[in-house]
């Protein structure tokens, strides 16, 4: 009997001590972490949306943690302890089958896009493997007053009637749009949610310029000197930042996102309109006589001058467009003008 007490009791005691030191005490200490500057609790609707997010296991594919690693820069600044003050249950996640959502509200502020994407992700991102959450929507004959029907592409729209978001979808989108990193105090006055500049490697132009620009192997490999269009890189950046709305074929989605194909601004010899839109974003834009309600996010904080020049040159030379190419210097000049 003595030996049993020793083994069972002794090992349980050792374990309980370790559980206290490694589980409970850090839990107590870290639970007291104060909210960072600008970190606000959710509104009731956003909190409801967070419950929908939890109930449907979104965080098995989407993390909400930005690591201090180069590959995470596209998702925002590194997460800080104060970011998680109001986040119970925690949703950091352990897998990134889909992109990190820490900054989803900044990257994709369009409610319309969020609805289309939730209804069926493949309607806007053909390669997506995210489940369709169409059961959060209702199909009605006519949208009730004050509610805009979701402008689905024909292939995904129901045969009859129109699709309107249900309450769960509204709450979930309200939550997704609330996902914005507040700027850290020492990160300068630059807008909210400012990831370190450049999604890939904007400053290595000088180093790679010496090597032959003809080696167009990997997209990230060669960045030619300022002014020379790197269409491969431009295409990759377009895919990462623009194609979700404007689509890979540049045609956008009718009624939801404007086409860049044959677009006057894109083909304008003076690039300032296009550059301004990319740098500062757009709201209520009128393109080809149609007013688009979806806002376009500003990219001044996330993309470097070289990146933007590459994107613009890609847009200006694709899908039958032939706008004059721009240089990074022109982007810098437009950036200097501000809003």
């Amino acid at each position: 009997m003595n030996k049993l007490v020793l083994i069972a009791g002794g090992s349980a005691l050792v374990y309980a001590t370790l559980a206290l030191v490694m589980g409970v005490l850090p839990g107590i200490e870290l639970s007291l972490t104060p909210a960072g500057p600008g970190v606000e609790p959710l509104t009731p609707l956003q909190a409801e949306g967070r419950d929908v997010y939890v109930a449907n296991g979104c965080s098995y594919c989407h993390t909400q943690q930005v690591r201090p690693l180069p590959q995470d820069k596209i998702f925002g600044r590194p997460s800080a302890p104060g970011d998680f003050a109001y986040q119970t249950p925690e949703l950091l996640g352990s897998e990134r089958t889909g992109p990190d959502l820490t900054n989803a509200g900044v990257r994709q502020p369009s409610t319309v896009w969020q609805y289309i994407h939730l209804y069926n992700p493949r309607a806007v991102v053909p390669e997506s493997i995210m489940p369709a959450f169409d059961w959060m929507f209702k199909v009605v004959d006519q949208a009730p007053a004050g509610t805009a029907p979701v402008p689905l592409p024909k292939a995904y729209a129901p045969a009859r009637g129109v699709v309107v978001p249900g309450h769960q979808a509204e709450a979930l989108v309200a939550y997704l749009l609330s996902l914005k990193q507040p700027a850290l105090p020492d990160s300068g006055s630059d807008a909210s949610a400012t990831p370190a500049v450049g999604s890939a490697s904007p400053t290595n132009a000088s180093t790679t310029a010496a090597t032959a620009p003809a080696t167009g192997a990997a997209p990230a490999a060669a960045v030619p000197a300022t002014g020379g269009a790197d269409l491969t890189k431009g295409q990759a950046l377009f895919t990462a930042n623009c194609a979700a709305c404007h689509q890979a074929n540049g045609e956008g989605l009718p009624g939801a996102f404007p086409s860049l194909k044959g677009n006057d601004v894109v083909n304008d010899a003076d690039p300032s309109g296009q550059l301004h839109a990319i740098l500062q974003g757009l709201q209520g834009a009128k393109v080809g006589g149609v007013v688009y309600s979806s806002p376009m996010p500003p990219f001044a904080g996330t993309l470097s001058d070289v990146d933007i020049a590459n994107i613009v040159d890609y847009e200006r030379s694709s899908w039958g467009n032939h706008g004059a190419p721009v240089t990074a210097a022109q982007v810098a000049a437009e950036r200097a003008k501000g809003k």
């Binding site: 559980a19 939890v54 997506s128 059961w135 194609a243």
Partner: protein, 478 residues
Amino acid sequence: MPSEASVVQTSMEGHHSSESEDSSRVLTSVFVAYTAASTLWLLFATAVGVVLAYKFGAPDFAPGEWLTFGRLRPIHTNATFYGWASLALIGLGYYVAARSCGTPLYSAKLAWIALVLFNVAVVAGTVALDLGYSDGSLEYREWPWPIRLIFLAGLVVTAMNLIGTVARRDTEDIYLSNWYIIGGVLWASTFSLVAVLPWYQYGLGQVSVSGFYMHNAVGMWFTPLTLGMLYYALPKTLSRPIYSYALGVFAFWTNLVFYPIIGAHHFLFTPLPWWLQTTAIVFSVAMLVPVWGGSTNFLLTMRGRLRDLAHSYPLMFILVGVIGYVVGSTQGTFEAFRSLQEVWHLTNFTVGHSHLTMYGFVNFAIWGGVYALLPLATGKFPGRLGMSLHFWMAVVGSFIYVISLSIGGTIQGLDWMHGAPFIQSVVDIQSYWVWRGVGGVLMFLSHIVFAWNVGRMCFGPSAEAAPLATVPAEGAAA
């Protein structure tokens, strides 16, 4: 001296008085019931797993609220953990504890009560998750907390029963298996309690508790019960004592001291305190000591008996389990390094790793234990063809599974590091997900065969038909 002790312990079972006939029958029925229930959960959990794997290639397959990926995914993991592996290991644990101590079960009634509690918890947890009631996507503790309390109650009852059983033994010594089994049940009760109390689980505090819990649920529950079972099943099947009893004791204490500290390695590069992350990495390396110590002990116990191995499916399963233990755990140590986490963390590589450990180690060891011990309890044997089909489909299937996700996950990680558009990482891994599905289907089919074999061991024709070669130790031990 220690290895002699083990011989004494195993030979204890020889003393079968007529009064123990009854208790033996009770023990058998408990063992059978736990094994049968766990097998049903294995079929359910892995059927869900196959559906999930299919959805990676066909996201619009099985649409709708109740079959959506994010709800089925925790149903798969929780049913695997708590329905299948936990119940199977507890059934084996009861048998090993009673047999190695030469005593009847302390209380059959408690065993039945716990079985009901466990099953109620898994059913309720599954239904709750499917209806969207989740305590958060907190790996392996998604069930709403009242349901987790039911499971915890089952664990406490089980701990009492096992301790009571071992307390009844006549000898002074306690055979090593019981250290691991009793330890595991007590530790699991402890961390389940830590996981369910809310007061220190807000925001980042909950993140640190998640790291603690998700790793302890594996290494302070499945690992000790599996090792405890192996320390009995392996000597029993080979009719020779464990190579070094002392090494087993050493591995027991080092595992106990090192393992609880490493949980935070699931949250490297997060805002968790840097010291917590670094401590976790250091002790992840220290884990090589109990892992290699334990697995070397098993392998040396099998030394020189390769011929028997080739003729005994229980031993083949155990051998794969031991290899899964050493390879999976060592891989875990390497994954904990910051440099390698940069590539592999958050990718599908981790999913491959978790299947290498839970499947390659725990599942194979359980199957070896069930094939070795259940026939001793029931006197009924599975057919060689059945075991062979189960073994080869499970080995080949899990091999394909782990290799494909390891490669695919690495590609994902490299895509991110090269700054490719995110969607590129989804496109690039597609074909590896197909292979994962192929492996998963083979694994699932092998479970159907296992269920058939369990049926034969529980309810099939009696012993005489059994080929002796399947369990070489049987004659010597009885």
